[in-house]
Symmetry: C2
Subunit: 356 residues, 2 copies
DNA sequence: TTGTATGCGTTATCAG
DNA sequence: CTGATAACGCATACAA
């Protein structure tokens, strides 16, 4: 250890910059920069200075300043997730999958939920912070939030929509969705095959995917000639309590349904709990089939028959388009990817009991 | 509209900067800057130029560049959340609460989960991106991730730990926790009052809070003179499947427990489902009490007796210390806030059935 | 009242 | 091989 080996720590209380390292090493700051990112550089530095600078950088505890890098145009390695309602278990599961998958790409996730009291200022905020991000995933349907759509349109970063419903209104960004029609028809067909004849539907209003599921349900019953009472279609908030409310409405006029198709697992699980609270046994007195296959179904008593949504695969597809190999150039038609759901039969569905 | 009214849009394909606005308005960039943040400025600009510049900024669609601002030292309005396991429903609920509360402060949340395959590089990443943030909340116990702790220590931003367990090892940052002892004793006392005598415990290993709960449970049984069989304490992963495994183990040697204290709701819900799959009725054959009162309990059949964790309040306290009015100066002892949990009795607990 | 100049921490392009 | 120097977009002390 030479007499010069002990170097002056720059005044603690301030992060160590390249300048500090350069000063301590007696070289130019640009030299430090070159050494510290030697990856794709054409110029080479002498092993001697490299060693020295690296050692000093380490000793001083130098850490690159991501914001300064970002200002220079480097990617921020941040993915923005604009989510309609983070309290919705479905979107929670989505964020979980997104966060996990994003990490595989080296990205982290910035949450911006626009839900509920989404007044103008907040929508703007969500968009402003978006400029921190390398890509934005819009999770869920944001119809009615006209301003958000417009803000997104003016953004410089790629935007990918997931679960936006399938309407083709010339959206300027890629969309990833699911074949709701196939999913719902599988669910309804399953109930019909079990022998149910009074099948109800509960869903939520104003949400693209939900509306498609409702239409698919009505279409299927129509085709198969099964009668559907008007009051056996209930539209409620997509919550546990919403489902409770829906069940009350469905049972108001006898005979009630022997089976219910719920447009989401949240509603299905809420239905299941509400049925229990009313003393109805599932599936003996009431069959329930959900949609999404969220992780919460693993704790459901009884196990929930549902339509599996390939959440991880869909998120992965979104990442590929946003920051991965499938990046969309922005030319021509925005790509649309549609995934196929599949029925998962568990214990919440059975043949209608004979006493009906 | 004068002949000069149509101004040249700066070459689309690049965000509009203050310079663009300045050029279009024929003023200096600094003037634009002054006008655009007129808040606490001592200097005044002429109403004429102000009008003009504002109009042009609007016309050009100027948006401030948050990264440039951040480089100048402005807060990023980002809160980092380092979470041990985002698939854990408890932490999912925490993130939900955090995201909601943070918005009230004008902040968004950056997720960085360090879980599972947390190799060195990733830990560093988590810390690097941290410099984007104005504060960091560490959710859950990270013992064993020694490097993370060290990295956090060197950080320039305030760090607040939540649910780290209560050990007082001279941590250099504020901690917010819950009184595990009181919570577990309330749960156990409830079962004892119902008449249970064979009470088991299941929890997870290596987690600060979990260990405290276990110790509290053992201590309580000891005090009240209730016998505890060695194999009636099961340590498993904090998952639905972990609980399933634990139940198998608990029932291996007759007589099995008539009641189980689970160290988390995830375990309790898993237990409930596993009991159902084995044909055990809850609470008739088996009483279950959980810990946390996560939102998923609202869908549980039957309703889960549990110990309520004041998640929103705790998150709020963390935000107050990190970015709110209770900011910690860094001097003296780091503050510790301990919240009190409370028992919520629902349907998963009852007196042991007489056939036992 | 407004313009000029400087710096925040990097990276990149020049010269030397 | 290395050292100046100029951006990146913005805020601000200082000069006019």
């Amino acid at each position: 250890m030479t007499s010069r080996a002990r170097r002056v720590r720059p005044p603690a209380g301030r992060p160590v910059t390249m300048n500090d390292v350069a000063a301590a090493a007696g070289v130019a700051q640009s030299t430090v920069s070159r050494i510290l990112n030697d990856n794709a550089l054409s110029v080479r530095v002498s092993p001697a200075t490299r060693e020295r600078v690296l050692a000093i950088a380490d000793e001083l505890g130098y850490r690159p300043h991501p914001i300064a890098r970002a200002l220079r145009g480097a990617p921020t390695m941040l993915i923005g997730a604009i989510v309609r309602d983070i309290t919705d278990w479905f979107f929670a599961a989505t964020i979980e999958a997104l966060s996990s998958r994003a990490r595989a790409y080296g990205y982290s996730v910035v949450l911006a939920h626009a839900s509920a009291a989404a007044d103008e200022a907040l929508r703007l905020t969500a968009v402003l912070e978006a400029r921190h991000c390398d890509a934005i995933l819009v999770l869920g349907d944001f119809r009615g939030e006209g301003r958000l759509a417009e803000d997104l349109r003016n953004l410089r970063v790629p935007v990918i929509g997931l679960w936006q419903g399938s309407e083709e209104r010339g959206r300027p960004f890629p969309i990833i969705g699911v074949d709701n029609r196939t999913g719902i028809r599988a669910a309804a067909a399953h109930l019909v095959e079990l022998g149910h004849e009074r099948i109800a539907y509960i869903g939520a209003d104003r949400l693209g995917d939900m509306e498609e599921r409702q239409a698919a349900f009505l279409g299927y019953l129509d085709e198969t000639g099964i009668e559907l009472r008007q009051d056996h279609v209930q539209l409620v908030p997509n919550t546990i309590d919403g489902a409770r409310f829906a069940l009350s409405a469905l049972l108001e006029r006898a005979p009630g349904p022997t089976a219910i198709v719920a447009a989401s697992d949240v509603l299905a699980l809420g239905l299941n709990r509400a049925a229990f609270d009313r003393g109805l046994r599932v599936p003996d007195d009431l069959s329930i089939v959900g949609f999404d296959d969220i992780p919460q179904t693993a704790a459901s008593v009884p196990g929930l028959t549902t339509v599996r949504m390939p959440i991880p695969e869909m998120v992965e597809a979104g990442l590929k388009i946003g920051v991965g190999g499938d990046r969309w150039s922005g030319d021509g038609r925005a790509p649309r990817v549609v995934f196929q759901p599949s029925l998962v039969v568990r214990q919440s569905t059975a043949a209608p009991s004979s006493r009906d």
